[in-house]
Subunit: 166 residues, 2 copies
């Protein structure tokens, strides 16, 4: 299973590609897609769409995992992040990749064992769980890898419940 | 000048195409793009993208006009509307159509002469200004036509100021 985690934003969208290989998780790719503040928002979204489409094409993920709304956000930032998130979800939809949303608490719990873990713990656990040589340089990339890990670790359980229920 | 007005939403996106012909405004098209609540959000955004892309291809607008954030919105609805708005702006960006944002107050002022006009006034003025046989059936279509009218009526002034300033 290959999962593309996304931490969406107009200026910086973090992405992280995580695969489950046997019993362990490996990072296939990760980084930050930046768009230039000097160009119009519709062109920035176009650049984001093109860059994310390339990532999807290259890795052919089975799922896209996104962090759900951060509840501390204000209306304006929720609106702005929503625009980038819509474009990311569109990239998934156009490639017939299913999207899954996780709250920040769910992501932290899946990665650190506690929904209240500090931000630095997330980055450190991402490094540890994926056996990376160092922590991701950018927070957005770490957050994207974390939500991908969250989906990898929860998805088998979700399926197990489904099978048990059916 | 042809302007595509958009009232974005995941379930219902209103659109309205308005052209300035000589001194008057005419409606070329208008309606509501609905997406099925039974399918996943990423597929709904994909359907919205496809339908809006068709509208842009058919009418080749010079500009897309969108209502800015409604400030009374809560964080969750701003996030949801933002996702659809991002996809609409992407459609514009991919076709190299410039986007313009107007607050609800600016739209009402441009259409009704008062930023505090009631919702029913907007629909009635849209009918009157565009010489429609009746008011638009759907509120989302009326709102989309209103923001297109707003841009048509403000754009020449905006350009005049630019020329004077330059």
């Amino acid at each position: 299973m290959i999962v593309l985690g996304i931490d969406p934003g107009l200026a910086n969208t973090g992405y992280g590609v995580v695969a489950r290989r046997g019993g362990r998780l490996v990072a296939l790719d990760g980084g930050v897609i930046e768009t230039a503040a000097t160009i119009a928002a519709e062109r920035r979204l176009t650049d984001l769409h093109a860059a994310l489409s390339e990532v999807v094409e290259e890795h052919a993920p089975d799922a896209m995992a996104l962090e759900d709304l951060y509840f501390g956000a204000n209306v304006r930032s929720a609106f702005a992040v929503g625009q980038a998130r819509g474009v990311a979800m569109l990239v998934a939809g156009q490639a017939a990749v299913e999207c899954f949303s996780y709250t920040p608490q769910q992501v932290k719990a899946a990665v650190c064992g506690s929904g209240r873990a500090a931000k630095e713990q997330v980055s450190w656990m991402v490094k540890t769980l994926l056996s990376l040589p160092s922590e991701p340089e950018r927070d957005h990339a770490a957050d994207a890898l974390a939500v991908a890990i969250c989906h990898c670790n929860r998805a088998p359980l979700a399926r197990a419940v489904e099978v048990a229920g059916g």
